[in-house]
Amino acid sequence: MTLSALDPGAVQLPRETVQLRQEVRDFLAGERAAGTILGRPDSWLTGWDPAFTRRLARRGWVGMTLPRKYGGGGRSNLERYVVIEELLAAGAPVSAHWVADRQAGPTILRHGTEAQRSHFLPRIAAGACFFSIGMSERDSGSDLASVRTRAERTDDGWRLTGTKMWTGGAHVNDHAIVLARTDESEDRHAGLSQFIVNLRDPHVRVEPIRLLSGEHTFNYCHLEGVELTDDALLGRPGDGWQQVTGELALERSGPERFLSTLPLLTALVEQMQRTGGGSPEQQSRVGRLTARLSAIRQLSLGVAAALAAGRPADVQAALVKDLGTRFEGELVNEVREILPTTARFDATRGSYPELLATAILHAPGYTLRGGTNEILRGIITRGLELSR
């Protein structure tokens, strides 16, 4: 029996990333000095700042891994990893380009036509084209293959009908990649296809779904007979399931799966430093979180290295996502106990009580988004069966 998940191997980041990391830190120091809002938990979900995105893009840090001929940076996945982990650790507002950078770009590169590549990729890399994910529906959460949104053949393309749900940023982004059923007769995995949909189309109606905090990031995205030409089809008809599965590997193992609440820990550490460094009990609890964070990061880097080398890493990605997102929530509870404070969502923005409130109110999402953890654990145990 091989248990490859238990032998991730230490990942040594390439030497050139040392300088790159410093460049990102210097850039962020400049942004902080210029008044950009940093240090927020869950900034990849709610930190929407297109001007910040464009400044990042000018540095070449959006669409970094896309080929140069499409306006990308031609950099490696591990280089991108270093950049985004620095941005997330700093709580930078990266949500505008997050999906475009993480999955829409790579998916279009992989499955798109030449016309789609040359149209979308340079815009993504310039920070001028933002994407939403059009996968989930009311009755299709973890069980994605049950989607009901339909794409019917028309004379010169497709007509899209259905309602996507939890569509983050649909009210502010430009496009969504929509998973739809193109063939009812086939088995449920085979009849799916992906389409690039313009969110400003008159037949797309976006309706807000407010988070329990009252914040607006999610939406219903009603597709009310959206007429698409053939060039909106992404990849081959019927390949949607396979394409989506590939996207999910990118979606599950990145540093956003364990760093969403790190800015809160950073704020705690600063608070403790100002008040004399804390008691031995407080110190050891900070140490416990540091050790766990560090180990989870090693596992996440292992997945990034595997993906970069073209090795499958579904099981390891599921493992990192379960460990990392549970850690994100655990961190919030620990911070509450290390330095008890009443969380206040209406306190001064950026103050410790307000950051704590944001992290608490977002906590239910950590272990749900990107695949519910209970379902991911099934992927892990299935991996054990296969390796037996």
Binding site: M272, S284, G287, I380, L384
Partner: protein, 343 residues
């Protein structure tokens, strides 16, 4: 506990066999850590991790020759005097200087791992000059009172009755070497725990796949899958921390901190790993009928030997909270992140 031990393995014969397999002194550090993990995986009855990751490197750092065979490591207060007192010295009271560094040593070193199976022990204590001293004791020089840890592994007390240690086996060492002994010991335990954690996963996966209840294997129950996945995850976490520390052994700037991280994570994960492994094994894992105890009882001992998780966590916490760091400057909450990414 200095009672007659009830070890599960007659130590001596196996230890001799294992000695044949000791790697050369110039083996790469990652290989040494991998061997220590294997020792934890197979519950090897010998002080392999102590020899490879602690005793040998300390001897080398102190400039002493490394003897063949298995070695163990001991620290603690002893009565240490110069063997050849320099009666002509006017420095301090009589006996405060020697004509050389030969020592006369008395006292007891407690719960020394595998002492009865070791050729020699590396001892770190305070020298008669008030600074740390490292010396090598040969097995014939101590009297042994046998003891055992929760797993029955030898943890013997060494009684030293006015033992003379020749100057050739004594070195004055810097305080940094005492710290190195601590973090190396922590890493050695972490590597052993990583190996034993893997054993827990293997045994649990095999058990839940083969044990049938209600007409299907345990592994087909959702409730079992959920726990089994968490077991795999927690074990992977320990392995990742240990591998990172192994890779950092050759990096003087990060070796110590990453060893702390590995020691803290390994010790902290023992509770969850052993809890799930036992729960999924059912009653049989709680008995001598199952080999699971060979891993879990060791893990319960190892997590506390050389410092429990609280001690390691506190070192880490103090370090990242210490404003006087190498990065300095304004609001240094980022120091935590800088340390995590500097490995």
């Amino acid at each position: 506990m200095s009672t007659e031990s009830a070890t599960e393995h007659p130590a001596a014969p196996s230890a001799e066999r294992a000695a044949d397999a000791l790697p050369p002194l110039d083996a790469p550090p990652t290989t040494l850590v991998a061997l220590a993990r294997e020792a934890g995986h197979h519950h090897t009855p010998a002080p392999l991790a102590e020899t490879l990751l602690v005793a040998r490197p300390l001897l080398a750092a102190a400039g002493l020759a490394v003897p063949d065979g298995h070695l163990t490591v001991a620290t603690g207060p002893l009565d240490v005097r110069f063997a050849h007192v320099d009666t002509g010295s006017r420095v301090g009271p009589t006996g405060a200087a020697g004509t050389d560094d030969a020592l006369r040593v008395s006292g007891t070193l407690h719960r020394v791992p595998w002492a009865r199976a070791a050729e020699a022990a590396v001892v770190l204590t305070e020298g008669p000059w008030g600074g740390p001293v490292l010396f090598l004791l040969e097995a014939a020089e101590w009297r042994q009172v046998t003891g055992a840890n929760l797993a029955g592994e030898p943890r013997d007390d060494l009684v030293l009755l006015d033992v003379t240690v020749p100057a050739a086996r004594v070195r004055r060492v810097p305080a940094a070497l005492v710290r190195e002994a601590e973090w190396r010991s922590g890493l050695a335990r972490a590597a052993l725990i990583a190996g034993a954690a893997r054993r827990c996963v293997e045994l649990t996966v095999a058990h839940t796949a083969s044990r049938v209840q209600f007409g299907r294997p345990l592994s087909h129950f959702q409730a079992v899958k959920q726990e089994e996945a968490k077991l795999v995850e927690e074990a992977a976490l320990v392995t990742a921390a240990v591998e990172a520390a192994a890779a950092a052994l050759a990096e003087p700037d990060s070796a110590e901190f990453t060893a702390w991280l590995a020691a803290a994570q390994a010790a902290a994960s023992v509770a969850e790993i052993t809890r799930i492994a036992h729960q999924l094994h059912g009653a049989i894992g709680f008995t001598e009928l199952s080999p699971l105890r060979l891993a879990t009882t060791r893990m319960w001992s190892w997590r506390d030997e050389d410092g429990g998780e609280r001690a390691w966590q506190q070192r880490i916490g103090r370090h990242v909270l210490d404003g006087e760091g190498d990065h300095g400057g304004e609001g240094d909450g980022d120091r935590l992140w800088q340390r995590v990414t500097s490995g």
